[in-house]
Symmetry: C2
Subunit: 303 residues, 2 copies
């Protein structure tokens, strides 16, 4: 059984219409609160030999990314720490990373839990606040599609980490840092709240997450390959290791950029945004004229 | 390093005054929301051979217990499921248990996450709502101490499960059910909100949690051994296996009863409550005249 059929099963058992977006919006008094949850688990999201110094930062960032994609400001978080008994010394660096990220993003740890565990894990529950909740559904045919920055760097960084080398070139170190310490651009929340008809954060990869947006909004989504931003470091990486940059950009995960649709073109002042495609009547995900397969990253697939 | 010194370290790093109670209260608009998090993890909170049919129910209940102890009504939850790839068939029974508990307690799953993992785990984040937040601190000398039901049954049930027998006597089945499927009395939230000066839920055990209440309220706490309620089933268990019922009642964990202090005696109409002790000027935890050691259940202790 794969992840999406498991989630479908859960939605059916719970008879829930609210489950399945980046965040769950709840109107409390006159405020719209956004709730989300994301975990980093050893063996799944990082390996034992990866440096742990940025783990706390990343665990916060992956949740902030969901809140910002919904047009919200991160406010509060609870941290559930799964901690091996022989790694209690990591508490210090993990929480220093969490504290640093909280200062950067303007949110606050209000509670949590600590449990002994075989594997290290940081499970974070985050509460945000939005003027207007932006969902994965809501994009219209003819909308423009924007991406908030270069993609594929994180996957390249991951591949470099998996090489377990002791020495890396400077551009390789940059790619590794983008994997270990993603930074979410908090300014995007205002743009998204104001202009986006639909939005999603890129955790599983551009093609996979664009697929979600297309499916949820019931529109055909066409990516313009030439417009997809690719960093100089990823270009260098692809030359050195003979990879296809577009493959990394479209198929890589964990970039934590935001993909969103707008009715009109954004003003020129919206710097750092890339118009990478458009929406059309119909269904399916296209890279130029090629239809991409409906395939998501799946924790439960056996391959 | 033990659990409480790890938590002290975290509080210091985060420079937080809010961490350390059953729930974290946040004023949102004109409402007080309560946030809490508790996990059930295979190997720590249950073993591979335990029946899993009530796991979803229990994971919700242990969080409800924290919300009710703070005087609140459970409202929303997010479920972070750690799921071994060879156990995806458990999704059905776990979520049916969660759904059943949500109907019983009047709360709703609004989101969550599913991650492949070596060990099964259900990490729940719950949001409650309260008119008035009741903390572990706030009890005064001369306050009365109430307990919401018999204690020690859950520990007896756990010991029976650890015997791995195929046949159990009827009273033993009841004890096992109290361990596997604790039920939180939701009516308590009104009593606690109205009368309690301080409260705590019994997850670690009466002596350990009474110790927290005493320490946080800076009062001496005296338990009256004769008044501590012990179920008939626990009495039978202790006769059969030659145990001391008071040891189980005071030292056992996971009963999810609520312990709370009040300024006055409760009206006779407050059925199912037991006046088991009182608070005095000073410090420390006493069972009649015997001072109990300051010892909590500790996931990170090596013994």
């Amino acid at each position: 059984m794969n992840e999406s059929s498991l989630i479908e099963k859960v939605k059916k058992i719970l008879d829930s219409k609210i489950i399945g977006d980046d965040t769950a919006p709840m109107k409390i008094g006159n405020k719209t609160l956004l709730f989300t949850n994301d975990i980093l688990l050893e063996g799944q999201h990082f390996l034992d030999h990866f440096p742990t110094v940025h783990l706390g930062w990343k665990a916060v960032s992956v949740n902030v990314s969901d809140i910002v994609a919904s047009g919200g400001q991160p406010k509060y978080l609870l941290v559930s720490l799964l901690l091996p008994k022989n790694k209690t010394d990591l508490v210090d660096s993990i929480y220093r990373g969490i504290a640093k990220a909280c200062r950067y993003y303007g949110c606050q740890v209000i509670g949590g839990n600590m449990t002994a565990s075989d594997k290290l894990g940081i499970d974070i529950f985050m509460v945000g606040e939005a003027k207007k909740f932006v969902a994965r559904r809501g994009a219209h045919p003819k909308d423009n599609l924007y991406l908030s920055g270069p993609v594929g760097d994180s996957k390249a960084g991951l591949e470099l980490l998996l090489m377990k080398r002791t020495v890396y070139e400077p551009f390789e170190k940059k790619l590794i840092e983008r994997h270990l310490r993603p930074v979410v651009d908090l300014k995007l929340k205002n743009l998204i709240g104001r202009y986006a008809t639909a939005a999603i954060d890129l955790s599983d990869g551009l093609s996979s997450d664009a697929g979600h947006l297309s499916k949820n909004s019931r529109v055909k989504l066409v990516l313009n390959a030439k417009q997809i931003p690719i960093s100089d470091e990823l270009k260098q990486f692809c030359i050195k290791y003979r990879h296809d940059p577009i493959g990394f950009a479209v198929g890589g995960g964990e970039d934590y950029r935001i993909l969103f649709a707008t009715k009109n073109r954004l003003p020129k002042t919206a710097a750092g945004l890339y118009l990478i495609g458009s929406l059309k009547q119909g269904s399916g995900l296209y890279l130029d004229k090629i239809k991409l397969a409906n395939k998501s990253f799946d924790h439960f697939s056996s391959s």
